[in-house]
Symmetry: C2
Subunit: 335 residues, 2 copies
């Protein structure tokens, strides 16, 4: 018997549909005996309440949304895992939206999420996003909102990140310790706070070792071919002795150029990168990485979002959570 | 002005809420002039219809669900990309559910998706799933359903797959051509049709070269440590000259064991694997792969699902779509 509805349960038990509905919601207006009869039959017939009717009645959609730039990236797929685990425990549904690093797409997505489709949302913003009214509108509308990884610092909402500046500092110091003097910092062309935090850690480490004058920074984009062209140019004209990639994509593009130009890593060029790629250890040579606790970030972002949805008070340290990343030293940065 | 609702629009224009609602739905009962006035104000105030009220009225949720075993896997994340692109074009929302290869979790997810939360669903089944009533229930309830990659052949629903047997045949033949005589086939312990199709391609290629007697098959699981132990055992006791991994995980575990035991790939052991990992070319040595057109599979599965949702008739060749995979030969299988 499929698609059993309230009316059929009511008819079968000779009760009104409203009594059935209240019995299933454990209303104090209904006797325990009736509740038991209703629930037993509902279970037997496989009754599931109509989600749209429940949502309309309770003003709850039992759904949260996750907006991320891309999914073909181990960091974001591990974050999704953490979010999904918490949502399943809460019996919530998870909507996923990909912006593909497109500000317009991000704004369109936020626009259709207004008016109750979701009880809350989590977002890691696109690297082309430059204005934030679409996010500000959510804060004003009091829809629970949590930022993770790529956050917007001007909006008052919880932010879950890693210690980007410290991790970048440590990675750069590691390169200096391995004998590098001309370290190039490769990031994406964007205005994200995450990128400037990583860059500041790099600059701080250079300054500490008196290498300020050797600063080399380069910003890439989403197109691999243009990135490789720019890296080829950088390696031939500036001859850095190390690459510190703020994003995995730039490290992969660097490896490809080195393969092509037969530049030996780590003898001629050392490479370290922010990356959650499990297979980094199988690279030729194994790639040193700064690994972010992606699963934990997703889990924490979802946990805090549910606190907001349940109107519980956040502790001061839950408004800005910073997880430590860790450096995994491998052959690509060895002496 | 946030969360503008029908009533506020009605008050502002001195019309009934029902007139506003019908005007926004382009009802023929409302004059063009009124429709224009209503739509102009709705746009100005940023009105978005309550999705649950619309869903209840139209019996449409504008939502589809995707159920996959895991997301930390390039194949499934590329499939998600394809699905999401089609859904965005259709202005649909996408719910994502991860089974983590757990039959019970898969059944629980399907159970809560009954009764109209979604207009249709796409699934790639878990490798521990052995009975299919939960899927059969969907077919009976006439909720549009499409299988992809890991399909259930006993249920009458469209299936999008790749030419697994042919691709496995080609990969095995390639190993034979490279001089291998003792090729081990490493898959996952499951009862999935996809695994038996891949195995049949392997066996057919062995038979063609008179190597039936040299068949070696091994089935792994989700735990890396146990897989590596089994692979170590296999390499030391049976001494195969090649590994054909039906899943990427087993190839990665093989590389790790070879690193540890200092077994040279491809000199002592050749390795080829089904894998959509872009970084396979950067492995030491670069890994030969059978690449599935994952993005296209996702796009096609979603396109066919929308045809079903829109009650359009499927062409006979849309009920069972098979995309070709292709073999990328790299150093791990070279002579």
């Amino acid at each position: 018997m499929d698609n059993v509805n309230l009316k059929q349960l009511a008819k079968e038990l000779n009760l009104s549909a409203s009594t059935i509905s209240r019995a299933l919601r454990d209303s104090h207006e209904i006797s325990q005996e009736t509740k038991d009869r209703v629930k037993a039959l509902a279970t037997k017939l496989g009754f599931q309440p109509n989600p749209h009717a429940s949502s309309l009645r309770q003003s709850k959609s039992k759904t949260i949304a996750v907006i991320i730039p891309e999914i073909e990236n181990n960091f974001f797929s591990q974050v999704m895992n953490g979010i999904e685990d918490v949502a399943q425990q809460k019996s919530y549904h998870v909507l996923i939206y990909l912006t593909h690093e497109d500000e317009k797409r991000e704004k369109d997505i936020l626009n259709v999420l207004r008016n109750g489709r979701v009880d809350g949302l989590m977002i890691s913003i696109s690297n082309t996003t430059t204005s934030f009214e679409h996010l500000e509108a959510y804060r004003v509308a009091e829809v629970p909102l949590v930022f993770f990884d790529r956050v917007c610092e001007s909006i008052d909402a919880p932010r879950i990140t890693t210690d980007d500046a410290e991790a970048a500092f440590k990675a750069t110091e590691h390169l200096v310790k391995m004998g590098c003097r001309k370290i190039a910092f490769l990031s994406m062309a964007d205005g994200l706070s995450i990128s400037s935090r990583r860059r500041s850690g790099y600059l701080k480490a250079l300054a500490k070792s008196g290498l300020e004058e050797n600063e080399i920074t380069m910003a890439g984009g989403t197109d691999d071919e243009s990135n490789r062209r720019a890296i080829r140019e950088l390696l031939t004209t500036q001859a850095p002795d190390a690459i510190f990639a703020a994003v995995e994509k730039m490290a992969i593009n660097t490896y490809q150029v080195c393969q092509e130009l037969k530049i030996d890593i780590p003898e001629k060029l050392k490479v370290v990168s922010f990356s959650n790629l499990a297979a980094a250890a199988l690279f030729d040579p194994p790639l040193s990485t700064i690994v972010q606790p992606a699963y934990e970030i997703g889990k924490e972002a979802a946990t805090i979002l549910f606190k907001l949805i349940e109107k519980r008070v956040l502790l001061p340290n839950e408004k800005k959570v910073t997880f430590p990343s860790h450096l995994v030293e491998r052959k690509s940065t060895s002496k």
